[in-house]
């Protein structure tokens, strides 16, 4: 079930470098709780940013966390354009129209004890909900996150509390020096990789997974409009079904389906 709901910004938690963690409360508590309860890790929302002068379409943003009990939606927003800039600088009390939850998230079950979550940049955001849901399934996931440097790492504290966190930075200011694809933890005997980050990073990880026969899911970020599988703008050319909507069949795909 998808919901079109108004959410009020109840808090903006400043993070590093102008990004922001938006904490949003549904105006309709009941429907909001239902929508939040249905949110699966890797799913996203499509948010309207009326505050942004030149922004016509909604903006898809991955769900960082969804707390149905408290009735709170957490979106980690990177200040990367006019719309996200407005989101990062929104005022408490501002109301946003949000369509959620959208797409299919990461797949896992209680057998995923040998899974490594890998993320980079703003792709780290959905890993929080993923790790929490894995905790609920009795798993303590291992997570590898990367960034250019220590200052660009996000959510390290939150992630540490829900699993084993490994870190790589390009300049070595935190964790191992280098890309995530070079991190020593990758050498262990993983059965599953669940990955979200910049395209080159995901392609690098996918290549390693393929080579070593590791089951691997990646989360794509194709430019989209509706988020509902109607406009057919965000297609990815898959091996099995040709062009499919990333917003509806994705954003998470098993790399077997991709022509990478």
């Amino acid at each position: 079930m998808k919901y079109l709901l108004d959410f009020k910004l109840s808090e903006t938690r400043p993070t590093q470098a102008g990004d922001a963690m938006l904490v949003l409360e549904p105006l309709d508590k009941e429907k909001g709780a239902a929508a939040l309860a249905e949110a699966r890790p890797g799913q996203f929302v499509n948010i309207q940013v009326l505050q942004s002068h030149g922004t016509f379409l909604r903006r898809p943003i991955s769900i960082c966390d969804a707390d149905a009990e408290q009735g709170l939606l957490f979106l980690y927003v990177k200040d990367a354009g006019a719309a996200t800039h407005c989101l990062c600088n929104a005022r408490e009390g501002d109301v946003f129209s949000i369509l959620l939850p959208l797409g299919n998230g990461f797949s896992f079950d209680e057998t995923y004890s040998d899974a490594l979550l890998i993320a980079g940049g703003v792709g780290i955001a959905p890993m929080l909900l993923l790790a929490k849901k894995m905790n609920e399934a009795g798993l303590s996931p291992s997570m590898l996150i990367g960034a250019v440097n220590k200052d660009r790492l996000i959510l390290t504290e939150e992630l540490s509390s829900v699993g084993n966190l490994y870190i790589s930075t390009d300049d070595g200011t935190s964790g191992e020096k280098g890309f995530v694809s070079q991190h020593s933890v990758l050498c262990r005997d993983w059965k599953h990789i669940l990955c979200c980050g910049p395209l080159p990073m995901m392609k690098g990880i996918a290549a390693i997974a393929k080579e070593r026969g590791i089951d691997c899911q990646v989360s794509l970020e194709n430019v989209m409009a509706c988020g509902l599988g109607a406009c057919l703008c965000c297609v990815e050319d898959t091996a099995d079904k040709g062009n499919v909507c990333v917003c509806k069949e994705g954003p998470v795909f098993n790399i077997n389906r991709l022509k990478w």
């Binding site: 016509f56 909604r58 989209m224 509706c226 109607a230 703008c233 965000c234 990815e236």
Partner: protein
């Protein structure tokens, strides 16, 4: 209370003038969670062709000021798939179904219409002679009277229910094309389809769309669409269906006042998924506030 119903002729009677524009509302099912599909004036489903089409490569979309460019290129699984897999899921909706039909030659249109004839709930076809995103057919048919006539008459021969022809705005005189399809048997015209446009990613120094050009839609083009509806409504006797950047009830009223008998909501569905229902409510509210009892009073 205003009576929003409208009879477009030849069995196409709508409970209200608000339809979905082809290609912006999937098969309706995609919006079932957020829109009461039974409230819609009609559901015009996505462009259907004789054979399955993969459409154009990604990227297919560019956001533009108050609008967007798309270059989907009629991706669909073909008419037979529609008949066997989609129709059974939507045939019990209360809203009449309309299938938008595309093809690369007149015979394709005719054959698709012929196959759709078995579907009782399809109350009309909308013949698309204006898609800017395909190499063969599409807009090429819609920019000359002779091209428009050929497709209209081919479809007409194999379809005896209501036949809408969807016109291209990429012409010097849209009324000329409208009169041509009227003379060839169209029961109504819908206008406008998208404008041929283009965007360049200046940082990467290349066109944004894989196809270079694409179709521009959204409120950006609404003033041109309203003008074309105004001109066309004065130029033909068949009903005119207006579309082009309608975002809310006010915008829909602009088209209805300009002479449209009904409207289609397109790009707005991407921005506000409940736009169709909102437009119905807002037209209703306006009419009641202004003491208007039937849609025909709106025309100025």
């Amino acid at each position: 209370m205003v009576d929003l119903s409208i009879d477009l002729g030849k069995g196409l009677r709508l409970a209200n003038p608000v339809m979905t524009a082809s290609g912006t509302f999937g098969y309706g099912l995609e919006f079932a969670d957020v829109v009461d599909l039974n409230r819609l004036g009609a559901i015009i489903v996505k462009g259907t062709t004789l054979n399955p089409r993969q459409g154009n490569p990604y990227p297919r979309m560019a956001e533009t000021p108050s609008g967007m460019l798309n270059a989907v290129g009629l991706q669909n699984k073909g008419v037979d798939y529609f008949i066997s897999e989609i129709y059974p899921k939507i045939k019990d909706l209360e809203s009449p179904l309309i299938v938008n039909v595309s093809g690369s030659q007149p015979e394709d249109y005719a054959e698709v219409c012929r196959r759709l004839s078995s579907l009782e709930r399809v109350k009309a076809v909308e013949i698309n002679i204006s898609c800017p995103n395909v190499k063969q057919g599409g807009m090429a048919f819609g920019t000359t009277c002779s091209g428009a006539e050929k497709v209209t008459s081919a479809a007409r021969e194999s379809w005896d229910r209501h036949l809408i022809v969807k016109l291209s705005p990429n012409v010097t005189d849209i009324t000329e094309i409208a009169r041509a399809v009227e003379a060839t048997g169209a029961d109504s015209v819908s206008l406008v389809n998208t404008f041929l446009g283009m965007a360049i990613d200046v940082e990467r120094r290349r066109p944004v769309l894989s196809t270079v050009t694409g179709g521009l839609s959204g409120p950006c083009i609404r003033p041109i669409a309203v003008r074309m509806v105004w001109q066309t409504a004065k130029s033909v006797k068949i009903p005119v269906i207006g579309l082009g950047g309608i975002m809310d009830g006010r915008d829909a009223l602009e088209f209805l006042m300009a002479g449209a008998s009904a409207v289609e909501i397109g790009t707005a569905n991407f921005v506000n998924p409940s736009a169709t229902e909102d437009v119905i409510d807002e037209i209703s509210e306006y009419c009641n506030r202004h003491g208007i009892e039937s849609l025909s009073e709106l025309r100025i």
